[in-house]
Symmetry: C2
DNA sequence: TTGAAAAAGTGATATTTGTCACACCGTCTT
DNA sequence: AAGACGGTGTGACAAATATCACTTTTTCAA
């Protein structure tokens, strides 16, 4: 249990510093959950009650279009925060699914607790602002890669920038994340 | 001048509420700047000292690749915040250029002032967190459009969701923003 | 008013990528 | 050991999009 607390604390303290009391109080607002490989955390049409902090394992956020084709929006591994942010913040139903690629341990934070943390400890609002900005910048970089790069270049970019992630996912998933067909990715290699 | 103050205040108060004193103090941290059509606000390689709040007009954030080809990352019109966020937050040099498509009036906020506002008035940190989340969600939607949609569908999506913007920019720019060639967009219409 | 520059349309062709069909391989279960 | 299944590779062909060259239209300033 203490390694879980440490993991969250170390993560938050990369950006802000907290007293023992502050951290203990913060930690009380999270719940722990464990999921097995291939298990669905939530799926399309369901309410999204939490934002998830990944302690270990790997999850993927996906969208299924009218033709039942799956599109992978993002992966989240250790130290990442993930959820369907639209559904989470507006307390509405998800347009995405969140699924485990590996056995995964997560800390879960409800919107009410998220807002309570932000309102009570300003440093936490600051922390989440920084996280959100980083997320925004990451998304902008991905958009730029769609605008400027061929499928091959996007693949090579993944290999150099996220080699650990590439090792852990089947190539068919990587293809979907990169926005190319499985077959095209196979020929690119 | 008062219409400028009102514009900013109305914008911020859509999300949080402020006393007259609070707003006046906040407003003092901004500087006003006016640019002409086609003027560069900053370009690749320059430091980015401000985040810009667009009062009126239209600007575009762009990236130029090794082949000197321009790619349009985002547009910002009235009530939008824009800058090269990487360069702004890290006080480093820009990889993007910010250019005026129309005569544009903006309010400018330095990083130091941004941080001072956030640190002093928690509501402002809350405001910027909400803005950042909205930006992140917008980027994720755009990524999803690259994953799921053809050029034609992306174009139609723009027409229905940002008709005002489409009217104000040349089709060649719209093409670049959508990630297709000018000629392909022309044939799609 | 007119001429230059910018923006937009179009035909011909090349390139990239998707789709479908099928083969191959390893793992897991029974 | 046999069969089922997921993941992957590949050939043939179709569809989408890029590129190049050129024309037409629009805009705007001298």
């Amino acid at each position: 249990m203490n390694d879980i607390k440490d993991k969250l604390r170390t993560h938050i303290e990369k950006m802000i510093s907290l007293s023992d009391d502050e951290f203990s109080w913060i930690y009380e607002h999270f719940t722990f959950q464990e999921f097995k490989k291939n298990e669905l955390i939530f799926e399309e049409g369901q309410p999204v009650k939490h934002v998830y902090f990944v302690l270990s394992g790997l999850v993927v956020l996906s969208y299924t279009d009218r033709d039942a084709k799956q599109h992978l929006i993002s992966f989240a591994m250790e130290d990442w925060w993930e959820t369907d942010f639209v559904a989470f913040y507006s307390k509405s139903r998800s347009t995405f699914a969140l699924k485990c690629i590996e056995n995964t341990k997560m800390l879960c934070l409800t919107l009410d607790h998220f807002e309570k943390l932000c309102a009570t400890i300003q440093k936490m609002e600051h922390f989440f602002l920084k996280k959100s900005i980083a997320g925004h910048i990451g998304s902008q970089q991905r958009i730029l890669s769609f605008l400027t790069s061929s499928a091959k270049q996007r693949y090579e970019h993944m290999i150099t920038n996220h080699p650990a992630l590439v090792q852990r996912i089947p190539k068919s998933m990587l293809a979907s994340y990169l926005g190319v067909s499985r077959e095209t990715l196979s020929r690119i290699l």
